[in-house]
């Protein structure tokens, strides 16, 4: 029966010791431990927040970089395009100019060829004329080499005249 009956002496000592323990632990143990743990938790929370903030900043920076890069790329493309166009126009201009020049040269060559040809023709004509005369002379000389021939010829001419 006395197993389940409280004992006054033990109750007194338990109350005394427990109250002292509660006081001492609260003041010297739990407060410092909990404040240290809280401080650490605060520190960790702050560190995590800072990390999040830094990450956000990094992301913003990255976005900015990307934007700048994109712009730069666009600008480069633009410049390249313009350069290409300029090049093309220059090439076109050069082409047309060179064609013109070539045409001119060809024209000049043709003119010169024609004139040369004409000159050569003239010379050939003259030469032929001279040759013809010489041949004629030689033929005439041959025809008039003997009297009979002269007479035959004269006859022939005379015959031709007569027939007329």
């Amino acid at each position: 029966m006395d197993l389940i009956l409280p004992d006054f002496g033990l109750l007194f000592w338990t109350a005394l010791v427990f109250c002292c323990l509660l006081f001492v632990l609260t003041k010297f143990i739990w407060k410092p431990i909990l404040s240290a743990v809280n401080a650490r938790e605060q520190k960790i929370t702050e560190a995590l927040e800072l990390a999040d903030k830094t990450r956000a900043e990094m992301q913003a920076l990255q976005a900015e970089n990307d934007k700048i890069l994109k712009e730069a790329r666009a600008e480069r493309d633009n410049i390249l395009k313009e350069a290409k166009e300029a090049g093309n126009t220059m090439i076109e201009a050069a082409k047309s100019k060179s064609k013109l020049e070539a045409d001119k040269i060809v024209e000049a060559a043709r003119l010169s060829i024609n004139s040369e040809k004409a000159a050569a023709m003239e010379e050939l004509k003259n030469h032929i004329a001279t040759l013809s005369l010489e041949i004629a002379e030689k033929v005439v000389r041959g025809e008039l080499a003997s009297d009979e021939k002269q007479k035959a010829l004269a006859d022939k001419f005379a015959g031709d005249i007569n027939m007329n």
Binding site: L3, G9, L10, L11, I29, K31
Partner: protein, 369 residues
Amino acid sequence: MMRSNLFKIVALVIVTMLNFSYSFAEKNEVKKEKEFNVGEMIMHHIKDAHEWHLFGPEHGGTSIYLPVILIDNGLKVFSSSNFYHGAKDSVLDETSKEYIYFNKGKGAAKDYALCHEKIYKLEEGKLHFKEGHPHNAKPLDFSITKNVLSLFMGTFLTLIILLSVVRFYKKNGAVAPKGVAKFLEPIIIMVRDDIAKANIDHHKYQKYVPYLLTIFFFIWFNNMLGLIPFLPGGANLTGNITVTFFLAFCTLIVTVFSGNKNYWGHIFWMPGVPVPMKFFMMPIELIGIITKPFALMIRLFANITAGHIIVLALISIIFINKNVAWGGLSVPMALFISVLELLVAFLQAFLFAMLSSLFIGAAVEEAHH
């Protein structure tokens, strides 16, 4: 394969031991010793005492005699050896027909007698029994009993361990814990977050954390100290109804003094029920104030005492059979129960703190209709 072989070997060893012990028990029956009474031994252990028995037989073994402090016409302090080494006497109980033994004090204790570890005043050198109990007057007994000494040692141990934790934080500041701090910090955090914060309003829980931590560590450390079978431990402190009564009483006081308007409103005038029911609910709720801590008191007392009884009963198997070979059976079983008791030691401390927190939480809860 390995396991089944092992099992066979263990079974063989146990069977051999049982045969062996049986033959020994037969031989021992020739001696007619005083019968070993398991129930008496166990009850003796789980109750408080004025001596700390170390080893040897119950009477005449080696004990530490603890100081007896009485208030009876002034303060009287003397050693309990004045009882244990005093004159032994016995009275035949009329109802149970059994002898009740008691010790009459000598020297400074000559006016007192010790019967079942309770101190009575002698009337003309005699104890008067009625229905198996002395009904002599009792002096106010503030003795440093076994449980009181265990309480001191438990408190000392708690302080030593926790001071080493606090020293770590003071020295290193807010860094990751190491050593004892590393082991105890998760438990402290568990009490703060899972016990206090989870059950008590978020704005008010901080006030109760030191109380819950103290009650948790007090119960846990003393539970574990009770599991150690020799000197720093072995007393059945947290399995003593007086101690659990006081702890439960503290929770009752904290709950009652924390109770806000909403809490008392729920007790005296339950909202949301018809008026006749309100009258009906009032006494039930009033009794509920007491029954909740009462359950705390009984739960801790019964769990810890039961653990001590089981371990002692299992060890007693050896002494009942008067053969050490029975240790092959009783020691593994006692070991198993002891390991289980380590879990129970933690669990009961956790439950006590948890339920205290729940009651406080209910007392400080704001109306949210």
